[in-house]
Subunit: 328 residues, 2 copies
């Protein structure tokens, strides 16, 4: 032991999970990465494995055990999970000696608190999905989009990948312009470009359609990188429209100046998406302080501290960020 | 017996199957309806049951048995099925005494030959999906769209239903205009409109999103009728855009004047979709003879006759249409 208070923040995502072990002053004393941690997309068994692996790795760096931890805050996408729905995780934690309190938070809040400890501001995450929130008094006060691949998530990785797929099938169906996305997608799918036809249709089109329907729709998000590398007019147009959609999503929650924390792979780096995003915001971007972050690990740690009754400040955030950066 | 040649045409769809029993002159002597007949969407057991039920009903009106039938032509959506893939149906037919030849045809060809026996022309079907073909020398020479709900089918029933769903969630997310589609969809889903919020979001939006994701995506096609009855600006715009998309799909296969057979529930009746379809075609509609049909039963019968070596003519089509009309 040797610590006054120990908390764990979990940034539990669809592909990996990060655990941040901190003292009551926000000093990070352990960091670990595990597998998939979202029970909605992976099931409670796999998500439980991912979470527990990340916790074990974080604890391994310290002399502490789960019995020493007073609060665990789990940030994940989807509806906030109440005590009852969280039973799958509490059972796993209890079995390892955890006797503290388990709370669930939105992944958007974890993103926000990774880039800001101020009580008012905004976060927008554009990864596989896309969602924006306004934070007031440290809590989510407004939400825009985040409606999933079928109904929303405009400008997200899924949205971009879906447009890539549609641009290619439209070219092969002679209904859209020629694009560098087509050879890129064929190579990605391992399909050889041939000119044989059946009923006036390119057989390669049938092959592409069959290969794409064999995926779960959400897996089209994996095609988004093709738009970033193709760099022709069709790809640029997709990226510009994505940026404009993301700006509209953020604009829907704007209510004055403040920090804007940018999360997710689509917005967190310089790209035509980010350019179009800023351009579309126009004058609305005045007074907005854009802060890209790579994930929500720091924010999950901050949420855990807050749940433990610690008054978090910009200094707490700086201490947690700095000490975590030294551990990964 | 008492007949020289007997053939059966099957119009096998995703919701029902029609069987048309004809003599060699195109006289319909039996008609029957069965359940779902597409093995791709229903599985071979259910599709086999649907097909066999339709055949039994068609034969019941005559004194013939399956042993008297020389050719069965099955028209269905999706890739044409070769001998091997058709084994599921041949086994069922053989068990009932069928010793003739089984052939598979496109549902687009059945639609075409329901409205035309001419060797050159066009068919466009807009039901759950949307696809257009050009017929040359009696066979499909060009195809446009028909790429399925995720990648194409622009202007189809699915396309319209998906736009209905998106218009509603956008209104509830404060990202789109108010529309009569919203109360219509809430009523359809059995959700009560309430104004409670969580994290700044209407809880009714969460309910709608949850209800829609509980459906298989293709089931959104069932929401298309809401657009036809809502009759406000948002709904009209969806229907107009659907009609324009369908016109573009037909235009992609146009190559001179000819009959255009219109199949599927979206285009076969007068509506804002049809109005926009004709308007968008503009001068390209000159020389096109639009012929709406309710299903592909007559065409399936004609395809069966053709497969049996009968030279089909406009007179054959008229005889089959007239005699079938008297039986249903």
């Amino acid at each position: 032991m040797g610590y006054d208070t120990l908390t764990i923040g979990l940034d539990a995502g669809g592909t990996s999970t990060r655990a941040v072990l901190t003292t009551g002053t926000g000093e990070c004393v352990g960091f670990g990465v595990g597998g998939r941690g979202n029970p909605t997309s992976s099931g409670v068994e796999i998500a439980g494995d991912g979470v527990m692996a990340s916790i074990a790795a974080a604890l391994a760096a310290s002399s502490a055990t789960l019995a020493d931890v007073s609060v665990i805050a789990t940030a994940m996408a989807g509806q906030r999970i109440g005590d009852e729905e969280g039973a799958w995780l509490m059972a796993r934690l209890s079995a390892e000696g955890f006797a503290g309190r388990l709370v669930f938070e939105s992944d958007l809040a974890a993103t926000y608190f990774t880039g800001s400890a101020e009580p008012f501001g905004y976060a927008i995450v554009a990864g596989t999905g896309a969602c924006a929130v306004r934070i007031e008094d440290g809590s989510i006060a407004a939400t825009a989009d985040g409606l999933g691949w079928l109904l929303g998530d405009r400008g997200s990785g899924y949205w971009i990948g879906h447009r890539v797929a549609r641009a290619v099938v439209r070219e092969l169906d002679h209904a859209g312009p020629r694009t560098a996305l087509t050879p890129a997608l064929l190579a990605h799918l391992g399909i050889t470009a041939e000119t044989a036809r059946r009923e006036g249709r390119l057989q390669v089109l049938d092959q592409v359609v069959e290969a794409l329907y064999a995926l779960r729709p959400i897996e089209l998000a994996a095609l988004a990188p093709l738009a970033f590398t193709a760099a022709d007019a069709v790809a640029e147009r997709i990226l510009h429209r994505a940026g404009a959609h993301l700006a509209d999503t953020l604009a829907a929650v704007l209510d004055g100046p403040g920090p804007v924390v940018l999360g997710g792979s689509v917005l967190c780096r310089d790209s035509p998406v980010r350019d179009a995003f800023v351009r579309r915001l126009g004058a609305a971007a005045d007074g907005l302080d854009m802060r890209p972050v790579v994930d929500g690990a720091v924010g999950a740690g901050l949420l855990a501290l807050r749940a433990a009754g610690v008054a978090v400040s910009p200094e707490t955030l700086a201490r947690l960020s700095g000490s975590l950066a030294g551990m990964r």
